[in-house]
């Protein structure tokens, strides 16, 4: 019975970082990055892993999107934002400020 109420989303000035209990790892068995939490394993695609590697608590959301633009030809800003929102709602990401 998971909730569907949207939580407050962050703005571009937030500096997201992985929550303390969340681990981002490369899994050699699957050749993919994975996000590990107590209840789930999320197998990431290349872009997802790239986004999360940029979530270091230093860069703002706006800077993360900019950094991705430098790396990939087409970056869908909304998709990145949605991805970050979803992980924030699942409490995998914390929004550090300043």
């Amino acid at each position: 019975m998971r909730s569907t109420v949207p939580v407050q989303t962050a703005d571009g000035a937030d500096r997201p970082r992985l929550a303390r209990h969340v681990r981002l790892r490369f899994d050699p068995a699957r050749g993919r990055h994975v996000l590990l939490t107590p209840e789930a394993v999320t197998v990431l695609n290349g872009t997802g892993a790239a986004v999360l590697e940029l979530c270091d608590g230093q860069r703002t959301r706006t800077e993360i999107v900019a950094a991705l633009r430098g790396r990939y030809d087409s970056v869908d800003d909304d998709e990145v934002r949605l991805f970050l929102d979803r992980l924030t709602a699942r409490r995998c990401l914390e929004a550090g400020r300043g």
Binding site: A29, R30, L36, P38, R91
Partner: protein, 370 residues
């Protein structure tokens, strides 16, 4: 990496010991606890973890019984952390002293889940069969102090289903990050005590109202996970995400199972003392027996939901019908559904249940451990 068209498992449930200071009557551990007393050594567990990691396992749940009764727990955690496994300790918290907690933190333990029986000492201690409530609260605070996120687990049944609001208040006071309210699953000791544990429909309806309100109130502060009782559902649960599909369990004496209750099934055994974990996962008759959908009889074989719930739980089918290959009787489409409906109806009447005596889970005194 698993081969031969078999996906790699994600999670390993390591039941380190069946010894436990508590005596919960809803425990799903096997009734013949003493038969598994020849526990794996530290070195054997370390080998199992290395094999699991190589096979593709990413998450390690350390459970039991009470895993803290293994004096080598920190060593096992450290080995897992070095292998890159996510480590989750599932504990009654008895024995989680500051010294041990700090050892585990230093060893790299990622997450702690503490079980609670109720919101207040008298009821909780009665359900656990031993004074434990106050010590659990102390340990829960310690977990937060050391900077771990805190997850509380509460198994729900007839005797605490009406206490959910107070349990949630307590969780809030303890600043829990997550709480899992999961209805009893009827295996092992719980099945033996089923008549005394099954809640009534009225209790369930009240519980759902309380949980719904809590979801809204606690949004963003505490995650509330509510697991419905399968006996009261139309469809069964997709047990373990499918037989031999995502998870495996290693029990204290090295037996390997697709799910923690599968030792009840009349199937060939598999053990890490005799075979590699990779062979057991990919090729053992035990793991192949109910993998996929080919083994299914009707009504599952021709049902649209067969890839969603995999025909439900094999252990439940066996425990209730005597045949592990039948549709889970929880499913309203099962020809054996009457077996479940009958137990649910009896719980609603409350006739049988009022005087049902709960048998405490007992670990025999004569035991061996290393």
């Amino acid at each position: 990496m698993a081969s031969a068209g078999v996906d790699a498992p994600f999670g390993l449930l390591a039941e380190l010991t069946y010894r436990c200071p508590l005596h919960c009557s809803y425990c799903s551990n096997p009734l013949d606890l003493a038969a598994h007393a020849d526990e794996l050594t530290t070195a054997e567990w370390q080998r199992v973890l290395a094999e699991a990691r190589e096979l593709g396992v990413l998450q390690l749940h350390l459970s039991g019984g009470e895993p803290l009764l293994r004096r080598d727990l920190a060593e096992i955690v450290q080995c897992a952390a070095e292998l890159g496994l996510y480590t989750n300790l599932i504990t009654s918290a008895l024995g989680l002293t500051p010294r041990r907690a700090e050892q585990l933190l230093a060893a790299g333990l990622d997450h702690v889940q503490i079980s609670l029986q109720a919101d207040e000492a008298a009821l909780a201690d009665r359900l656990a069969g031993t004074p434990s409530f106050e010590r659990k609260l102390v340990a829960a605070r310690l977990v937060k102090e050391l900077g771990w996120p805190l997850t509380l687990n509460v198994v729900l049944h007839r005797h605490n289903a009406d206490r959910i609001a107070a349990i949630l208040d307590l969780a809030e006071q303890l600043e829990a990050d997550r709480i899992e309210l999961a209805h009893t699953q009827y295996y092992g000791w719980a099945l033996r005590n089923r008549a005394g544990l099954l809640p009534s429909r009225a209790q369930l309806e009240r519980a759902q109202g309380v949980v719904r309100a809590a979801h809204e109130r606690l949004q963003g502060r505490m995650e509330v996970i509510y697991v419905l009782p399968d006996y009261h559902s139309r469809y069964p649960k997709p047990c373990m995400g499918g037989w031999g599909r995502r998870q495996l369990t290693v029990v204290p004496d090295g037996g390997v199972l697709p799910c923690p209750t599968a030792h009840t099934l009349p199937l060939p055994r598999a053990s890490v003392r005799e075979s590699s974990l990779a062979w057991i996962w990919e090729s053992s008759p035990l793991f192949r027996r109910f993998r996929g959908t080919d083994w299914m009889p009707d009504p599952c074989r021709s049902c649209d939901r067969r890839e969603l719930d995999f025909g439900g739980c094999r252990c439940q089918a066996f425990l209730l019908t005597g045949d592990a290959a039948r549709t889970d009787p929880v499913c309203h489409l099962s020809p054996d559904h009457g077996l479940v409906a009958g137990a649910v109806a009896a719980a609603d009447e409350g006739a049988r249940t009022r005087d049902a005596v709960l048998a405490p889970r007992l670990y025999p005194a004569a035991r061996r451990s290393r």
